[in-house]
Amino acid sequence: MIVHATNSTPDLHVQIGTLKLDNPVMTASGTFGYGAEFAGLLDLSRLGAIIVKGISLKPRAGNPPPRIVETACGMLNAIGLENVGLERFLVEKMPYLRQCGTRVIVNILGDTVAEYAQLAGRLAGVAGVDALEVNISCPNVDKGGVAFGAVPEMAAAVVRAVKEHAGQPVIVKLSPNVTDVALMARAVEDAGADAVSLINTLIGMAIDIHARRPKLANRTGGLSGPAVKPVALRMVWQVAQAVRIPVIGIGGIATAEDALEFVLAGASAVQVGTANFYNPRAAEEIIDGISAYLGQYQEPSLAAIVGTLRHD
């Protein structure tokens, strides 16, 4: 239970490389469209940042339907990275995003290291793009489809290429489908990442026992939502101990309590994903709840509690 405090509002700002956010609550890529979709239901200008749906060089149609299945306290998605492509994004989506009054982070994805580099280069000079988030969960077509996010050397190669061309801070988004997520985090830190964000979705599956077919046309999909929170929190805690760069916590965050668990575990900021779907106001409620918690415990700032989990 978080009770509201009366004293002066605590300082919620977060520094990620050269990027300063007013507060630590961002909306996760692929769960908040390009911002406009939620404008009628919450005040976009209050968000720490909006992270847009993953953008590739060329438009992608995505996977055939069905693309989503509800699971116990979670959902599987196999959207297949449907997006309007970089050029239409810049023309059709950036003008709206630029005037939202919040930071905009562009999530990028490619099939090859060269594509990632090109995306970073093309976005380098774009006004209103405050940071890049590099989604390395996609399969590397050059390397036979092994995910960039599962092999430290491949992830590092992507990050080096992006850093070389990027004009903004680079956040690298880690996959949870690995044996040692801290190893991946160190690899991308060494390659120059300004921050890491985690987790992306866990690979999962659901089957229609009457049709005897996978419920998703793509067979498998990414699991997200409250179901994955314990795994995400554990990984964030592990990574926060392994790296020096800021860690951004993602995975099943639906309330301020959830967000604060990640902060105490070492996350400097958080992203709200699936919760936006069933509670479009979630991100705003989380900002208010974090303020109230800091007030309740008379903490001057969010920064004061990052990673302060006691484990004696």
Binding site: E37, P65, E70, C73, N77, E82, F277
Partner: protein, 258 residues
Amino acid sequence: MPEFQKNYTVRRVEHFEANIVRLSLDASDIAAVARPGQFVMVACGTGQDPLLRRPFSIHSRYPDGGIQLLLRVVGRGTAMLAETAVGQQISLVGPLGKGFGIPPDGEVCLVGGGIGCAPLFFLAQWLVEQGVFPLVLLGAGSAGEHAALVPGLRDLGCAVHVSTDDGSLGHHGFVTDLLPALSGKVQKVYACGPVPMMAAVARFCGDRIACEVSLETHMACGLGACLGCAIPIPGRTDAYRHVCKHGPVFQATEVVWP
């Protein structure tokens, strides 16, 4: 267009045959701005399971301000909603999506099958307000399923013809069997129901009669954000449309029929 995320109080719960339930909610703000064919996302149950909201068409604008939903129990979420008691609160997000298009000059026909009939009542209310009295063709499994809709439509002044699968009321067979008897003056058909039924209506209308259909897909957000509700676009493989945003009402010619 304004959208709301709020808890609304359940004013009335009516149970019909075939697991059909009508909920009346004091959502006068939604009622004030909604158009027929739009839907709301409804939270079900007490916890985080089921996690996602369920989409339901707005069934009617309720006399004292507010809206009604007409739903059939088909799974966990709808079963929980059916247990709702008067006075309880239900969280809605809406109104969402694109509604039905304006009627042409001339005769108009509504065709509904099963629980797909739900949005047609609101559509009929709206048409009648504009002085358009549609002919309504409704199909159902058996007589009891027509109880929720037919009396209300007749009270509005609509001519209603029904069919039942078991012959217990009206025509014994498909509602689409009633189409050939339509007057040649019908300028537009609004259809809503099972895909095979809507496909038959679309075929019947061809290029001769304007035809709008309301589609259903699984939805996570209802807002155009998750991209989960994709449907194919006729003649294209490089893109999909999204039912919650581009629909749920589409021109029949915009749909890839099976």
